[in-house]
Amino acid sequence: MFRKISLVLALSLSLGGCAGLQNIKTAVEVGTTSIVNPITRDRLNQLENIAILVFTGLNSWRQACIDGTIPASCKGQIESAQVYTRKIPPYLTQLRAFVKSGDQVNAITVYNNVMNLITTVKAQAAANGVTISTVGS
């Protein structure tokens, strides 16, 4: 297991470079504040990658719950989180369409809605003792 973890760290570090510093900062900042800047395809991709990390963590929580390795109260907690996560797919569909068509006014609105939902779900998971550590949080 440690070999795998070391591999992840090495991989991550090898990808950091001076030229990318500003983008790294941007990635760190994404997800902490509402934005008014244009939602470019790169920013959309950043959001989707942050969401991948969040949902990967959420799915681990879900699997642990199904496997019975955490208290049974997890079922109700996950169902509460699903109230919010089930709102995300239609927003994502809209966001992708707005970004690709260049409709920035609507893209920014929907982007902030998606980020708010992700932040809410992460906070809810954290309140139940499940910390989902991601870039951008």
């Binding site: 760290l9 990658n49 990967t56 699997q63 797919p89």
Partner: protein, 70 residues
């Protein structure tokens, strides 16, 4: 280069991967996501295929989580 920032970023990604590996889940999507975030220097080089790939992974993860619990 801000080493502290890069280390912080790597450690956050590592935390996610560590959790996944510990519970025996596939850590590849998380690793790829961190890789893409850290390699933001590629800004402006994204293709439709890149976006489609990311979107497909995310859609599948969301669908998995949103499924009713057994």
């Amino acid at each position: 280069m801000d080493i502290a920032l890069i280390l912080d970023l790597a450690m956050k990604g590592l935390s996610v991967a560590n959790t996944l590996i510990t519970v025996g889940k596939n850590a590849v999507p998380a690793i790829d996501a961190v890789k893409q975030l850290i390699s933001g220097a590629q800004a402006g080089t994204l293709t439709d295929a890149d976006l489609d790939k990311t979107e497909a992974v995310l859609d599948a993860l969301i669908e998995d989580f949103n499924a009713p619990l057994p």
